[in-house]
Amino acid sequence: MDVLLTKSKPTVDTEKSSNQPTNQISGSEVLLRCLVEEGVDTIFGYPGGAIMPVYDALYHYADKLTHILVRHEQGAIHAAQGFARVTGKAGVVFATSGPGATNLVTGLADALIDSTPVVCITGQVFAHLLGTDAFQETDVVNTTIPVTKWNIQVTEAKDIANAVAKAFYIANSGRPGPVLVDITKNAQNEMIAEADYHKCESIRTYKPTPVLQLSQVEAAAQLINNAKRPYILAGQGILLSGATEELKAFSEKTGIPVACTLLGLGGFPSDHPNYVGYLGMHGNYGPNLNTNECDVLIAIGMRFDDRVTGNVSKYAKQAKIIHIEIDKAEINKIVKTEVAVNADAKEALQILLEKCSKNRHQAWIDSFTRLNNIEYEKVIVKEFNPTGELTMGEVINHLSNFTKGEAIVITDVGQHQMVTSRYYKYKNPRTNVTSGGAGTMGFALPAAIGAKLGVPDKEVLAVIGDGGYQMTVQELGTIMQYQIPVKIVVLNNNFLGMVRQWQQLFHGKRYSFTEMQNPDFVKLAEAYGIPARKVEAREDLQGAIKEMLASKTPYFLEVVVGKEDNVFPMVPAGAGVSDVLLEEPKD
């Protein structure tokens, strides 16, 4: 990372010489100063005509702002997401107008559904050309309204600072999300008087953090104290709120078992005695089955996504549901709650900790263990100790063991994602980065770039399928240019594996356009100057993983895995969580 650490050329002092009066600066420079004031140090971007004035001003900010030139704007926004997920700070993106901006749409949608703070700055045509179908003009504001938490178009330089301040405040507060600021070229060029920057601290119409109602918490505590089989479902809200210690303390005091959603993984240590597993469509057997056995379900910072509930009409009907959630629109949206605690998770847990009694539910926790042992015998043993082709599970198991569950693991979307969620033993918060709600293939490679730049002293592994890898493989160029030492593991089965699995199980094994002919991935990585290796034999696997982890440079490892392996357990589409399958149905 030496190239990166010394900052890209030119290393020019920010007190640049210019012909304009010293108390006048351009709108572009206003923007950059705002970013610096907001604590931004890294920008992921791709220049173009409509944002050229900003890039020109950026030329003189090399010592304060590191710009990472990606190879596609979608790479930029996924990188910003990876950065945001591991640091908790908003990721920042620059893109030009027209196709540059529309290339951000997928990433914005992804960031919105997964509550990731991202601030995108897009260039726009001159204000007098708006609505005239000018070159590279698109109506970015209306295009991105459905996929942003907020957006705004700025047509005058005097409005830039206020817009940027609001953007960061909105992106980072309450339930975080992506924000877009579209700046016309005239506003970027316009000269205005310098002024102090004021961070946004409130917006009249926006109430990001609800006022906790003590009566709600007391009602929840009463239910919990009287529960016989209470069960905590921990979602990403635990991580966003920084409530991992509170959750651990709460679970330890009350003796309540904890399962995590996909985006909640890492929010509770996987080696804790009260941790019972990962829940959802490919989650662990115990957490899924016992959802319909508990008497009090405590959902914290999760939204009852359909991947978690399965058929909602068969979901936890016997339980009284307590929903602790900062976003009021999520409460009672999918499941009916008995007690709604509309609050920040950390704040709610701190008070619950005081109000709840010390308790133990060992027999209840043991019931999870018995069910998980069944899963271990029927599924996991075969996955970790196969006799034939390499399995995804054994690769992930080795990765987890060699990194002691402490690496930052970025997954793409598909079977490998589910396998990693099941078998990588996450211990720490903000170490699991994946596309949850949108399931965006191609997410992992650029997100790994952003994650590595966000926490450079941590090992960052990108685990990707052969399909998703090729959606954003151009970002190998970014890795090459900045020598970003991410470790890329492609689990190659020459199929769009998850779709193939569904075609096998539910569509009579009609593999309609899911088989992939792939290039030589090793040669491709080497063309980008990245050391690469391919493993097909079991005896080579552990050595190759160790070699990859020992590398100080970027490294690419392709592992050829079973072509038609399936991921189990599985809650089939339309089924309830109690109908979870441990193996392929006999018929």
Partner: protein, 97 residues
């Protein structure tokens, strides 16, 4: 069972705010029977939209919360029936007349 509801939304009057409001309703496929929107007489930076919708009680409650998530929206309140739509829309019309 679906019925008429009158939804009153108070918000900042920014470009695209109506678009944002209608998008929420469209996404849920809520039928919009009538809509009136105007700036506040004393302050053009604020405005009101009054919408007559045909939907279920469960849906109007969910839509209200989703509308209140919009940054520009200060608050949204709904009433059963359409009588209040006529009253509110004529009240606002009188204010600007």
């Amino acid at each position: 069972m679906k019925q008429d509801f009158t939804l009153e939304i108070h918000s900042d009057n920014n470009f695209s705010v109506l678009n944002r409001i209608v998008n929420i309703l469209n996404r849920r496929r809520v039928r919009i029977k009538k809509l009136i929107a105007h700036e506040d007489e004393g302050d053009f930076r604020r405005g009101v939209a009054v919408v007559l919708l045909f939907t279920t009680a469960d849906m109007i409650e969910k839509v209200k919360h989703q509308l209140e998530k919009l940054i520009e929206v200060e608050h949204a309140v709904y009433y059963e029936g359409s009588e209040l739509y006529c009253e509110l829309s004529s009240k606002h019309t009188e204010e600007i007349a």
